[in-house]
């Protein structure tokens, strides 16, 4: 060893030359190492997603007898869902209300996302934070706020009455599917906006310049370049909002009124008052299937549309 190392060589010789068997195994197998690190998350996911789902499906073929379950497999729950009009009607209403709310939200959010992506040049992050902030506020309280706004003596009614536009409060504002739609749209706006923004932000600006160079007017450019390129974000937004809202039951309970009930309400009472868990499980299974079907149809439609557009 050279002179530069004098005096410290002894310290260095302490370097151990062997590793534990396990760590040697880990070292040789990167994949093993990867799965080891993924293990806690996977275990939780399997225990808390896969296992519950399987059991839920199994339970949907059971029957509730008093406080106990009759575990002989039966299709009775599904038969009841198929035969009684309430299930399909509420399911369709949920899909419809969520669908409309999603559509409205995406339409409302797109221009805003566009604005932030293309017209905000400084403090972009600040804008995004401010837009997403409401999403982190209490779910119940946001719904409650809408009750106050749409209510009989709410902001809108008292506003309209004070300026003399109406004599009596409008009673269709609240307790209607419309109120549910509006509340859902507000609740999920931030969640729908983000993916659209991200896909807009990703668009290479030179592509737009090229289109302009090739003679496209701004409007044509929007429809030929910007919109198609941002479609993945729009699709993501649709999924992120549509699917969770189908199962919502708090919003309909609070602002939906008798005609605003959704499938989530029906599902919830099976686990509460009605105390028919297998029936609840069957409703949940049907709900997941319905969502999957609608989701796949939507995907197929967008794919078709894209093929047709190109």
């Amino acid at each position: 060893m050279s002179g530069a190392n004098a005096g410290t060589g002894a310290v260095i010789s302490a370097r151990p030359a062997t590793a534990g068997r396990l760590s040697r195994l880990m070292f040789r197998h990167e994949v093993l190492r990867g799965y080891t690190m993924l293990a806690p998350a996977l275990v939780i996911m399997v225990l808390a997603i896969l296992l519950p789902f399987v059991l839920m499906i199994v339970m949907s073929f059971w029957d509730q007898v008093g406080f106990d379950f009759d575990t002989t497999p039966t299709l009775q729950n599904y038969r009841e869902i198929a035969e009684k009009p309430i299930y399909s009607a509420l399911l369709l209403r949920s899909l419809w209300v969520s669908g409309i709310a999603t559509l409205a939200t995406v339409l409302v959010c797109y221009p805003m996302a566009y604005f932030v992506a293309f017209h905000v040049h400084r403090h972009k992050m600040l804008w995004l934070i401010i837009i997403t902030l409401p999403f982190w506020t209490s779910y119940l309280m946001r719904i409650f706020s809408w009750k106050v706004i749409l209510g009989y003596e709410g902001v809108i009614n008292s506003g309209l009455m004070s300026i003399g536009l109406i004599d009596a409060p409008l009673d269709f504002l609240i307790y209607s599917p419309g109120a549910v739609t509006l509340t859902l749209a507000h609740t999920w706006a931030a969640f729908a906006l983000l993916p659209i923004y991200v896909s807009l932000e990703k668009i290479d600006r030179s592509v737009l310049e090229a289109a302009a160079d090739l003679g496209d007017s701004p409007l044509v450019r929007f429809f030929r370049i910007t919109l198609p390129l941002s479609m993945p974000g729009v699709i993501a937004a649709v999924f992120l909002m549509f699917i969770p809202t189908v199962g919502d039951y708090v919003t309909p309970t609070l602002v939906g009124g008798p005609d605003g009930a959704m499938i989530g309400n029906l599902l919830q009472v099976q686990f509460g008052g009605v105390n028919n868990w297998p029936m609840g499980a069957a409703i949940a299974v049907v709900m997941v299937l319905a969502i999957a079907v609608v989701g796949l149809c939507f995907l197929a439609l967008t794919a078709l549309f894209r093929r047709w557009a190109t």
Partner: protein, 274 residues
């Protein structure tokens, strides 16, 4: 309308739209703080008198404080556990060439796109079958499922932007995985971890549906609030509490996003400045 040459030209129409959008977004949110100062048991217009007394009263309500304590307890544990698990998962996904990563990530993101009620019900069934009594711990389990995607969501991009040679350099310099994590990965990832902690904390703190189905004796705050909606005399203090929480949530999320952003360009990526 778009394109660099045009984009600097302000678009009045869009600006007006953005302003309207913000009103739509924030108008309803501001109702809560507003009514927390209104001196009436029932929320109605026009507002007659203002008061601070609901805030004072809030402090006297032990169950409220207990529910708040439960929520904070659950959120604290859930945020730490989900972030810890998220760190390892995100690292494995970003770093190790593990087959099936795509499927695993999709699987983990599932709670984001499956109605919460389905998960809640499914987990409830499992707990019931296994004979597990409902408690704050079962709520935590439910929240963990909801929070993990958020943790991974906020950590994954940071791991992807985090130069793997930093960790290799540490290994090369004689540190094993454990020490490398604490001496290199953790400090460099600290902003991302903080962001994940705050985000998962907020998600858990506000979560309703899982808690609704999975809570036992001790209620979390949203469940408590849900129960109190029917008691007019309690309601204004719930508004006061919500206002405080709103303020705290805003501060927390703002902080988390801000922390998440700082240091991202240079510290976390270790890129050589050009």
């Amino acid at each position: 309308m778009s394109g660099r040459s045009h984009s600097h030209r302000p678009n009045r129409g869009l600006q007006a739209y953005a302003a309207l959008f913000m009103v739509f977004l924030y108008g309803p949110i501001l109702i809560i703080p507003l009514f927390s100062f209104v001196d009436a048991l029932y929320v109605r217009f026009p507002i007659e008198a203002l008061t601070f007394r609901w805030y004072g009263e809030l402090w006297r309500r032990e169950p409220v404080i207990d529910a708040l304590g439960n929520s904070l307890y659950v959120a604290a544990i859930v945020s730490v556990v989900s972030t810890a698990i998220g760190v390892f998962a995100a690292k494995a996904i970003a770093r190790n060439r593990v087959p099936g990563t795509g499927a695993i990530v999709t699987f983990m993101m599932l709670p984001l796109v499956v109605p919460g009620i389905i998960f809640a019900v499914a987990i409830l069934i499992v707990l019931n079958r296994m004979g597990v009594a409902l408690s704050l711990y079962t709520v935590m389990a439910g929240h963990l499922v909801v929070c993990l995607p958020f943790a991974i969501w906020s950590l994954l991009p940071r791991f992807e932007g985090f130069d793997p040679s930093m960790e290799e350099a540490s290994g090369d310099l004689g540190e094993n995985g454990w020490w490398t994590f604490w001496r290199v990965t953790f400090p460099i990832m600290a902003p991302g971890i903080a962001a994940s902690l705050l985000m998962t904390f907020t998600v858990s703190f506000d979560e309703f549906i899982m808690a609704f189905f999975l809570s036992g004796t001790q209620q979390t705050l949203p469940i408590f609030v849900w129960g109190q909606l029917r008691f007019p005399s309690q309601f204004p203090s719930i508004l006061a509490l919500s206002t405080l929480i709103l303020a705290a949530s805003f501060a927390t999320v703002f902080l988390s996003l801000w922390i998440g952003r700082i240091g991202l360009p240079k510290a976390a990526t270790g890129e050589i400045p050009k």
